[in-house]
């Protein structure tokens, strides 16, 4: 049994990835990745750009299929159920696994409707309760106080930092069990980035969080568990303390020292 620094129990696999291979055309982007992602805490995927971090992340909620000329083999199970099974409803998978993209994409509607988008699709919410739901998740993303007066105005008018927090609120409002973040702060200023990081550390107490980042400092701050990818290969994985203090593989050592990547 292993525990992270805050004593969270880590060895309850939420997602199991088995022999995952991904090709873009003839480019072999992920090579035989096999690993577990644990149900609480933050798993951080690190590695140089182009190593397959985002590919791995997007394969977890099947958003990868939206890319043209992509081929995926292997198994990804969520609570033991293969999400790539023919019988599985892909919208169900994506409802249970939320994603925060690197760049904010506010939907072309009001701030309110952005947050209500997920709940309106999946739950039959009464018109009176939706107000409360939207407010709650805007609070949770730390945006409520800034937008309470203009909640019906177009979301595109927010600043980039606010838009990204809106996207976080929107993702959370769909009430996923797992929250994926693809370089969630890469387009943001330091202060907005810090606020997003704070929200993510709060979230890990009640859901599985997986973050892709190319910023080692961010990884050190947030990670309970680390996956290190190198040229499409999963080189090393383990608790953050172990990976950062005593990496086993030479490539991990070199990457953490800043020699490669």
């Amino acid at each position: 049994m292993s525990f992270d620094s805050e004593g969270l129990l880590m060895d309850e696999p939420k997602i199991q990835i088995q022999n995952l291979n991904v090709w873009y055309g003839s480019h072999h982007a992920l090579k035989d990745v096999t690993t577990d992602i644990y149900s609480r805490g933050i798993t951080v995927i690190i590695g140089p750009s182009g190593c397959g971090k985002s590919t791995l992340l997007k394969s977890l909620n099947r958003l990868l299929e939206e890319t043209e000329r992509v081929r995926i083999t292997g198994r990804v199970t969520l609570d033991g159920c293969d999400i790539y099974d023919q019988a599985v409803d892909v919208t169900e998978v994506r409802t249970r696994i939320g994603l925060l993209a690197p760049k904010p994409f506010p939907l072309p509607m009001s701030i309110f409707d952005n947050v209500a988008y997920g709940p309106r699709i999946h739950r039959h919410i009464h018109r009176h309760t939706i107000d409360g739901v939207v407010e709650r998740y805007l609070h949770e993303a730390g945006l409520w106080d800034e937008v309470r007066d203009r909640i019906r105005s177009p979301a595109s008018r927010l600043s980039t930092g606010q838009q990204q927090r809106l996207c976080l609120a929107r993702a959370l409002a769909a009430e996923p069990e797992i929250h994926l973040c693809d370089e969630p702060t890469s387009a943001l200023d330091p202060i907005s980035a810090q606020r997003i990081e704070q929200q993510l550390t709060h979230l890990k107490r009640r859901m599985t969080v997986v973050i892709v980042t190319h910023m080692l400092r961010q990884a050190r701050r947030l990670a309970d568990y680390v996956l290190f990818l190198w040229m499409g290969e999963l080189v090393e994985s383990g608790p953050a303390a172990q990976i950062f203090k005593e990496p086993r593989d030479e490539r991990t050592k070199a990457y953490l020292a800043g020699d490669i990547g």
Binding site: L63, T91, L99, A101, L107, G118, I121, P154, R170, A171
Partner: protein, 327 residues
């Protein structure tokens, strides 16, 4: 390159610029700019120029008849000096409306299929075929309309609709020929579709992939994403596509006059023959010009056509402006 090497090179380049040969290059540059500017200005001035010429030539009739009579009188009898454009305006409006009603929904659905659902391979085969449709000369459409659409309307659609929906005046008929507003609308609809499809496919494809993924990642189905996100984002472009199609349909002459029957009457059913403004001008200009004011009347018709298209364009610009601001 080290900095010390770089600076002398930069200086050298500056020296070269001041070389006498540099002068011709600069003259060429300025000249090219001027020439292109004049050409663009000329292109921009063409429409006002045409409008002015049409207006001056149409002026005799404007001063002889009140505008209300020209626009709303039902009698067209040039020899006795009656120039009522109402039947022709009605003909144009009917044919254009029918064509737009028939063309817009399938064209948009096709565009959505091509940009959102089709695999790259399917798209690569279908798209050029549709684009080909836009290049078919309008006379060919006219001939095709006479050979196929007119009999189809006369022998099949007219009896069918009269039997089933005949209680609505819009679908009643005593004209069994098939040369009708509906035939004109059908032919026009087919002509206009490739334009709307091509442009709206572009518009849909230009919607950022990240926006689609944002919606899909929230568990939305593809159709939900198209309806609530892609279409909404694309709306200004879709309107532009529809306006372009409308302008084309409104001004189309050849194919329409070959199938629409050309009877100057105010239609009451889609199976009635009609006589659009464009057909009026094309059929009669150059003939019977000895009749007083006939020439002026036809140019007045052309002027009305031009004005409607201009006003429509203007309105759509305003709508677009408001839409792009509110999204």
């Amino acid at each position: 390159m080290a900095q010390e090497e770089f600076i002398p090179q930069l200086l050298n380049r500056n020296k070269k610029r001041n070389h006498p040969f540099g002068l011709t290059r600069r003259v060429k540059d300025v000249l090219a700019g001027r020439v292109m500017g004049v050409l663009s200005l000329f292109a921009a001035l063409l429409v006002p120029l045409i409008a002015v010429i049409l207006f001056t030539r149409a002026r005799p009739i404007f001063s002889a008849k009140p505008l209300t009579e020209l626009l709303f009188s039902r009698t067209w009898h040039p020899i006795s000096g009656a120039f009522g454009f109402y039947p022709f305006i009605q003909g144009t409006l009917w044919v254009t409306s029918i064509s737009m009603i028939l063309a817009i929904p399938p064209s948009l659905l096709t565009a959505i299929y091509l940009s959102e659902y089709a695999t790259p391979k399917v798209r690569a085969y279908i798209k050029p075929l549709i684009d080909l449709l836009a290049g078919v000369p309008s006379v060919v459409y006219g001939v095709w309309g006479m050979l196929t659409v007119v009999p189809f309307v006369g022998k099949f659609i007219a009896p069918l609709l009269t039997k089933t929906l005949g209680f609505i005046p819009l679908f009643q008929t005593d004209n069994p020929t098939g040369f009708s507003l509906l035939a004109g609308g059908l032919v026009l609809g087919v002509m206009v579709s490739p334009i709307i499809i091509a442009m709206s496919t572009e518009v849909f494809t230009a919607v950022p992939q990240g926006l689609r993924e944002a919606s899909l990642a929230l568990g939305a189905t593809r159709w939900h994403t198209v309806k609530h996100v892609v279409a909404r984002r694309a709306l200004p472009g879709i309107i532009a596509a529809v306006v372009l199609g409308f302008s084309r349909a409104f001004g189309e002459t050849m194919a329409v006059l070959m199938v629409v029957g050309n009877v100057p009457q105010v239609p009451s059913s889609i199976f009635d023959p009609g006589y659009p403004l464009t057909a009026l001008i094309a059929n009669n200009y150059g003939e019977m010009m000895s009749i007083p004011m006939y020439d002026s009347a036809l140019l007045c018709a052309a002027f009305i056509l031009l004005m409607v298209v201009l006003v429509f364009n203007l309105i759509s610009r305003l709508v677009l402006l408001r839409l792009t601001r509110s999204i």
